[in-house]
C-alpha cells in the first residue's frame, strides 16, 4: 500500500497521530500537496459514505475529522505556498431565535471534511449577521438551520435578505427537522438536504452547476 493509501486508512480509522505521521511522510517524499489533500478528502468522503450507510457513528466520524484537521495543519503552509485554496467558502448558522445546533454542527463538520472553508456563525444568528458574513467572506454557499416551526419565518427573512444583497453571489441551502423541500422552494432557497451527508452532495451539485 502506498503512503497515501495508508494515510486514507488512518483517517478512516481516526488514528490522528498515525495520519499526521503519514502526511509528513508524504510531504517528505515529495508528493504534491494537492494530491495529499485529495487523499484526505477522499478518505473523509468514505467516512461520510459509511456514516450515511449507518456503518459508523458520529463519535467515529468526529475522530476522523479531528485526524484530518491535524493533517491539514501540516499541509496548510504548503497549500498556501502553492496558492491552493479551499474550493470555496461556506457560511453556516442557526437562524435567529433558535438555539439548536447539533444538526448544524454535523453539517459543518461534513463540509469541512469535504474541504469547504466553513465559517460557523453559531446559533441565534440574525439575518444581517448572515449577510455581513457572506459579504465579508465572499461566501459561495450559505447554510441556514432551524429546528423550531416558530423560527422558520426567520429563515425566510434571512433568505430574502441574502437574495436582496447584490454583492452576495451565494447559493442558500437550508435544513433542520421541520424544514421540507417544499418549504425551501417556497421561501426561495436554492436547496434543502435532509441530513448532513446529503448536505455535502447538495452543495457540490449546486456549486458545480453555478
Amino acid at each position: 500500500m502506498s503512503t497515501l493509501e495508508n494515510l486514507g486508512q488512518a483517517i478512516e480509522q481516526g488514528d490522528r497521530n498515525e495520519a499526521e505521521r503519514l502526511t509528513q511522510e508524504a510531504i517528505d517524499a515529495g508528493v504534491g500537496p494537492q494530491e495529499i489533500l485529495d487523499a484526505l478528502v477522499a478518505a473523509m468522503d468514505e467516512v461520510g459514505r459509511r456514516f450515511q450507510a449507518n456503518e459508523v457513528f458520529v463519535p467515529e466520524m468526529l475522530i476522523a475529522s479531528r485526524a484530518m484537521k491535524q493533517c491539514m495543519a501540516r499541509l496548510e503552509p504548503l497549500l498556501v505556498e502553492k496558492g491552493i485554496r479551499p474550493a470555496f467558502t461556506a457560511v453556516i448558522g442557526t437562524v435567529e431565535g433558535d438555539l439548536h445546533d447539533i444538526g448544524k454542527n454535523l453539517v459543518a463538520m461534513m463540509w469541512r471534511g469535504a474541504n469547504f472553508n466553513v465559517v460557523d456563525l453559531g446559533t441565534n444568528v440574525a439575518a444581517d449577521k448572515f449577510v455581513a458574513a457572506a459579504r465579508e467572506h465572499g461566501a459561495r454557499v450559505v447554510g441556514l438551520s432551524a429546528l423550531l416551526t416558530t423560527t422558520m419565518p426567520a429563515m425566510k427573512r434571512t433568505v430574502e435578505a441574502l437574495k436582496a444583497d447584490g454583492a452576495i453571489d451565494a447559493r442558500v441551502v437550508i435544513g433542520g427537522a421541520p424544514v421540507t423541500e417544499a418549504f425551501a422552494r417556497d421561501i426561495g432557497a436554492d436547496g434543502f438536504a435532509p441530513d448532513a451527508a446529503s448536505a455535502v452532495q447538495l452543495v457540490r451539485g449546486l456549486v458545480e452547476a453555478a
Partner: protein, 458 residues
C-alpha cells in the same frame, strides 16, 4: 443526597397510576392515586411570535383549548392535565406567556364549572439562559424573564411548575457527539445538579408564595437528545441507554428541592425518580409519536401517572385539529390503563408487564426502563454519597444490567454496538474517587470556554 432509601423498593410495586405519595390538585384530582390521567400538549403551527402576531397567537391557543375541551367533555376522562409549554419568546416577554396561561386557565375553569371536568394546568416556561453564551445562569435579563414567567403564570392559574432546564448542556452536547461518558457525567452530575439546586430552590420559593406545586424537571436536553441521536443512528443505543440512567441523578434534584411531581412527561428517567421518591410521574410514548419517534412506545406507559402526547402543532388533520385528535388518543389509552386497574393490582400488573415486554428486549434504552432495571439503578443512586458518585454508580449499574440482559438473551444488542459496553466501562473505571479530583480532571478535558464555572457555583 436527600433521598437515602427507595420509596418503592420492589419492581412489583412500580405501577402506572399508583404512587405512594400522590398529589392532590385544586380541583380534586389525585395524581398517582389510582388513576392515569391524560396530559394534553400542543404547540403553534408555523407562525412567528412577536408583537404583531400576538393576536393571532392568542387566537390559536384559544382555539386549541376550546376545541380540545369540547371533545374532552364528550369523552369524559376522569380528569385532565393540560401542559402549556411556552415557546422562548413567551418567556423572554413574560407577559405573553402569562397572557396565554390566563387564556388556558380560564377555559379550564369554564369546563369545570359548566361540565364538571376536573383539570389542572402545568406551566413550563423555557430555560432561555442559554441565549447568551457562555450563559449567565443566576442573574441577568434572561433569568429575570424566567422568574417573572413562573411567578406570573403561577398567579394566572398555572398549578404545576415545570421546566426543561439545561444547565450543563453546553458540555453535554459535545459529550454526546463524542460518545464521552465521563464528560456526560461531569455535565449532568456536577454542572447539572448544581444548576438544578439553584433553579429549583428559586422555584420552590415562587411555588410557596403562590400556593402552587413544583412538579418537576426533565433531562430532555440530555437524555432525549441522546435518544433522538440514537434513533437517527448517530450515536449507539447502548450509549443513550447509559446516559438515561445517569440523567436520573440530575432530574432528582428538583425533588430534593421540594418538587412533588408529577415529573415532566418527556423525562423518560421518571420511573427511576418514582422508585426513589414515591411521587407521581408523567410519561409519554407511542402517543407522542407526533413529537418524536422512540423505542419506548409502550414501556413508557408502564409506570406513568399521567400520559402525554408531548407536543403537536395546531394543524388540521382529516379528523379535526391535530391537538384534539391526540387528546382523543390519550383519553382512550388512559381508559385502558384505568380499566385494568379497576380489576385490581394484579390485573394492572399484567397489563404493565405486557407494556414492558413489548419493548424491553428490542432496545437497550427500553431495557433500562424495565421495573427490574429501574429499581436497580434507583438503588445505586440512593446508596451513593454524592451526585457525582451517584452518576458513576448509575452508569456502572446500567452497563451491568445491559450486559446481563444481553448475556441472558433478554436484550438484543446490535453487533456494531457491542464494543461500547467495554468502552464505556473502561472509561468510568478510570475515574477518581472524589468529586473534587474528578472536577479537576474534567476541567482539563472539556471545552471550558463554553461555560462560566462561577455560574455553577464552582
Amino acid at each position: 443526597m436527600r433521598f437515602r432509601q427507595l420509596a418503592i423498593d420492589s419492581p412489583d410495586n412500580l405501577l402506572f397510576g399508583t404512587a405512594p405519595r400522590p398529589l392532590t390538585t385544586r380541583r380534586g384530582m389525585v395524581i398517582g392515586g389510582g388513576t392515569v390521567y391524560p396530559e394534553f400538549n400542543f404547540t403553534l403551527p408555523d407562525i412567528a411570535i412577536d408583537e404583531g402576531s400576538m393576536p393571532a397567537v392568542r387566537r390559536q391557543y384559544q382555539q386549541i383549548i376550546d376545541d380540545a375541551l369540547r371533545r374532552a367533555v364528550e369523552l369524559e376522562p376522569p380528569g385532565l392535565v393540560v401542559e402549556f409549554e411556552m415557546l422562548p419568546p413567551m418567556t423572554q416577554q413574560p407577559r405573553w406567556g402569562i397572557e396565554i396561561t390566563a387564556i388556558l386557565a380560564e377555559a379550564l375553569e369554564q369546563a369545570h364549572a359548566r361540565h364538571g371536568l376536573p383539570s389542572t394546568l402545568r406551566i413550563t416556561p423555557n430555560d432561555t439562559r442559554e441565549f447568551e453564551r457562555p450563559a449567565r445562569m443566576r442573574h441577568g435579563p434572561y433569568w429575570e424573564g424566567m422568574r417573572q414567567a413562573f411567578d406570573g403564570a403561577a398567579a394566572a392559574g398555572g398549578e404545576l411548575l415545570s421546566i426543561e432546564s439545561v444547565g450543563g448542556k453546553e458540555i453535554h452536547d459535545d459529550a454526546l457527539m463524542a460518545g464521552d461518558l465521563p464528560a456526560a457525567i461531569f455535565a449532568l452530575c456536577v454542572l447539572g445538579t448544581r444548576d438544578m439546586r439553584f433553579l429549583w430552590s428559586e422555584l420552590a420559593d415562587i411555588a410557596q408564595a403562590r400556593g402552587v406545586h413544583c412538579a418537576g424537571d426533565t433531562a430532555c436536553g440530555f437524555g432525549n437528545t441522546a435518544m433522538v441521536l440514537a434513533e437517527q443512528k448517530l450515536v449507539p443505543r447502548l450509549f443513550a441507554a447509559v446516559i438515561r440512567a445517569v440523567t436520573a441523578v440530575r432530574s432528582l434534584v428538583a425533588h430534593e428541592c421540594g418538587a412533588v411531581g408529577p415529573g415532566k412527561d418527556c423525562g423518560y428517567e421518571n420511573p427511576i425518580l418514582k422508585a426513589i421518591t414515591g411521587m407521581p410521574m408523567a410519561g409519554e410514548g407511542k402517543t407522542a409519536a407526533c413529537a418524536h419517534a422512540s423505542p419506548l412506545g409502550n414501556i413508557a406507559a408502564a409506570m406513568c401517572d399521567t400520559w402525554s402526547n408531548e407536543s403537536v402543532q395546531n394543524v388540521k388533520l382529516l379528523g379535526g385539529m391535530a391537538p384534539t385528535c391526540y387528546l382523543e388518543q390519550l383519553v382512550y389509552d388512559c381508559r385502558l390503563f384505568n380499566r385494568a386497574m379497576d380489576h385490581g393490582p394484579s390485573a394492572a400488573t399484567m397489563l404493565r408487564n405486557w407494556l414492558v415486554e413489548s419493548d424491553s428486549g428490542l432496545d437497550p434504552q427500553a431495557y433500562i426502563l424495565t421495573p427490574h432495571s429501574v429499581v436497580a439503578v434507583a438503588r445505586a443512586i440512593v446508596a451513593a454519597p454524592d451526585h457525582y458518585r451517584a452518576g458513576v454508580a448509575a452508569a456502572a449499574t446500567a452497563i451491568d444490567l445491559l450486559r446481563e440482559g444481553h448475556e441472558a438473551g433478554c436484550l438484543r444488542i446490535h453487533q456494531r454496538e457491542l464494543p461500547w459496553l467495554d468502552r464505556m466501562q473502561r472509561s468510568i473505571e478510570a475515574l477518581p474517587e472524589s468529586e473534587s479530583a474528578f472536577i479537576e480532571q474534567m476541567m482539563g478535558e472539556v471545552d471550558t470556554t463554553r461555560f462560566n464555572p462561577a455560574e455553577y457555583g464552582l
